[in-house]
Every structure is written in C-alpha cells, then in structure tokens.
Amino acid sequence: MKRTTALAALAAPALLALSAAPANAHDIDDVTVELMAPLEELNDSGGSGEAWAKVTGNEVWIKVEVQGLLDGSPHAQHIHLGGAGECPDPAMEGSGFDGAIRTTDAIDSYGEVRVSLTGNDADTSEAAALDVSNFPADGTYTYERTFEVPDDVAEGLHHGDGVVVIHGVDHNGSGEYDGEQMSDLDDSLPSEATDPALCGAFQETQMSAPGGGVETGGGSTSGMENSGLIAGGALLVAAGAGAVALNQRRRTDS
C-alpha cells in the first residue's frame, strides 16, 4: 500500500511533465500537421468552398478556395481559435438582419480571430482582422499564402482547433454591403460586410494529400487513332480509281 502511494507520488510529476509537453513550441518544430475543412454556408450566403493547410512548427501554408459569394466586395477571412473548435449551426438565430448570425453571435463555437488571411504580404495577425483592402474582393477566388504565426496559434493549429471563417453576406440582395445595421466588429462598416458567410472547422487529414488533378491519361480517343489505316485505304482507293481512269483514257486515245 505504502509502496503504491510512493510510486504514485513519483509518477505524478512525470505525468505532469508529459501533459505539459505539447505546450512547448519546440516539440512541434519538426512536425507537419495537415488540415482540411470543407467550407459550409452560413446566413444563406450562396457560397461554398474548401480550406487546406499544412503547419510545420510556426509556419503555415494555407490554400482557400471559395465560390459563389458576393462579387466585387471584400471578404475578410480568418482562422479563429479558442472556442469549441466548431462552426455554429447554420439554423442558429442570430442578432442580425432577419435573425442572421453575426460574427460575435457564434464566438463560443469558433472563438476569436487569431489569424487574418490577408494578401499583398500584409500583416496576418488579429490586428489585421478588418484590413479590408488586403482581403480577396471577389465572390469566387483561390487564396494561397505561407506565413509565420505566434507559438500559441501554432499549437492551437497543431491540435486541430482552428476554424476558418469567411465574411461578407449581401442579406438584402442589393449587390453591395449596406443596410441599417452596423457591424458588431467595427461600427463604421455595415454588418453585411462582416457577417460570416462560410465556415469550416479544421480536421487533421488521414493522409498527405496530393496537389491538384491527376495525370491519368496518355492519349486521346476522340481523335483519329486509326489514321494510318484510313489514310492507307483512301490512298488505295484513289490510286485504283486513278489507274482505271488512266487506262480508260489510253484505250480511247489509241
């Protein structure tokens, strides 16, 4: 009995050390985690898409593909961390236009903005969350970038806790961000500009995914693969017919 207690006492610090280990950034330096998320529509945005990321230590490579959102308007895009690591139920009743979900309504689900997926080498921290001039400004786009993130963000991503959220929904169908209600994130912007349009919770992949399409075709079957036969046949027909005609003419001549 006494021995078990002693052993337990010895084991406890060891266990503590073990469980604390993942918090040490050095342990993820040489580890690549690959993450994927289908992007599901929120607020009937009409969009769809996918996100794919590889995180090695503090370096993040990410590719986001989006279709069908509002054209010609910026779509702020972030990785959120610190919530339940999930997307809200699209049917959730929010505080926005006609019950629309606003960004802060679902903070318990996806957490706070920790990465801003900007372009043009702009800042990728949460400070750039509404850097509208550096976000994609189309309804359909492919975004790809590699950048560094702070230790705690890297750890969250390595644990598969990240949630990708794309913002910007034209609730009233006016073709631009407008409306009475102002944003819950920035009261100089219409709420439409920052309401979530697509959401996807990262999940670790079960493989190292190949890039792009697959080159599994060596030749066309729609062309003339029997062109030799066909040309040969045609040549024979022409030669034969020519010889007959020539012979015919020679006979009439003589």
Partner: protein, 256 residues
Amino acid sequence: MSTEQPGQGRRGAILTALAVLAVVVGVVVLVVGISTQRPDPPSPPTATSGAEPTEAGAREQAAEAPGASADADDGTSTTDAPGAGSTSTGSGTQQPPGPEVAALEPSEPVEVRLPSIDVTSPLHPLGLAEDGTLEVPSGDRYHEAAWYDGSPTPGELGPTVIEGHVTGAGGVESVFFELGALRPGDTAEVDREDGQTVTYEVYRVDQFAKDAFPTVDVYGPTDVPELRLITCGGEFDEQEQSHEDNTVVYARMVEG
C-alpha cells in the same frame, strides 16, 4: 505499233483488274479503319466541370427515369430531403446508410476488382512526384491500377486512393477507361496483403476540371473507411497532351 495492240489490250485488262482490286481493298481498309475508331471514355451522367454538378444532375436523372428507378439511382442518399436546396446528392459529410463497419489494421492492397465494368487489376504502390502531384503508373505497369501509398490502406479509417490511366499513348484504352460508367450502388473490392478483402459501395461519381479539383472532397478526412478511384476524363487537350478533367468515384466500406 499495231502488232502491240493485243498485248497492250491484255496488259490494259490486267491493269484495270489491279486498279479495281486496289479500290476494293482500299474501301475495306477504310471501313475497318473507321468502324474501329475508339469512342470517348464514359462520363458520369452529371458530367459538368462545375463546382456543384450533383444536384442538377440528380434532378435530371429523376426526370429521365421517373418512379422507382429515380430512387434506385439515389439509393445511398437516404439523408437527402427531397427538394431541399441545401442538400446535394452524396456530399462528403453524409453519414453511411448501413450499420457502421469496423476499421481494419493496416495491410497494403494487392488487387482491385470492379465487377460492374469488368475490371480486375493488380495494384502497386506509388507516391508523390517532386511537384507534390500524384505519381501515375508507368513503364511495364502503365496499364495497371496503383495505390497511393500516402493514403490509408484499404479498410483503415480515411479515404484509400487508387488511380489508373484512362488511355495510353495513341489513345489505346487503359485499365480505368470505363470508370465513368460506374454508378451509385455498384461494388468495388480490394484484396489486401493479409488475405482480407474489403468491399465498398459506390455512392458518388463525379467529373471535375483538373484546375478545379476538389482536394478536400477527394482527399479530406472521412468518418469511415472509404475508397477513391481516380482517372482522367473530358476533352483531350492536344497541346498539353492531357485530359482536361478527372473522373472520381467515391465509395465507402460495407464489408471487410
């Protein structure tokens, strides 16, 4: 001159006979040549290179085949609410229809069989090329299907990736030429090194432009052991010497 007449006449007759023979043989060769022109590889009925081909296609199918066959076409999509705009046939997030099967321990695949299109092929492992794309079968094994060795082995959790060529040089048919003719409900079987056979049921067949390849749909995590069969399809780009599309068959494990 006149003494040559009969000889010339005979020679003329022979020449004419030869010429006629040439015409006849030429016609035969032409007919054979044209009639054995190979057709294009089959495409799924919803073959569009767009992002959401399945829904419109499902409606089309239902219109073409009213009644029971519409259900049959859609047999695996039991979670689809009819007419609901947000659901599409066979999205990756769907739950399997039957009782869940237990995932297996790893064991590499050795043979794939697709009975409905008469395909049986040995399998060899392939990895990724320098540029991160999937290597494709080549050399002596050009016409055999291959397993991507970075993907789960058959029966393991996740999508097992098997690829094969649709055509070879000069347009000859290759092992997965008929892949686009598979339909939901069809069966795929994969033998493993340990002697076990994993049986899958097809739940989705799609064709995508290679530059719009849905990476997450095809290679993303799954809740049960699944299978992806990949080949080329669509128009052949003579300049690029490559097909513009990929045909992808999605199946999930039903027995193993």
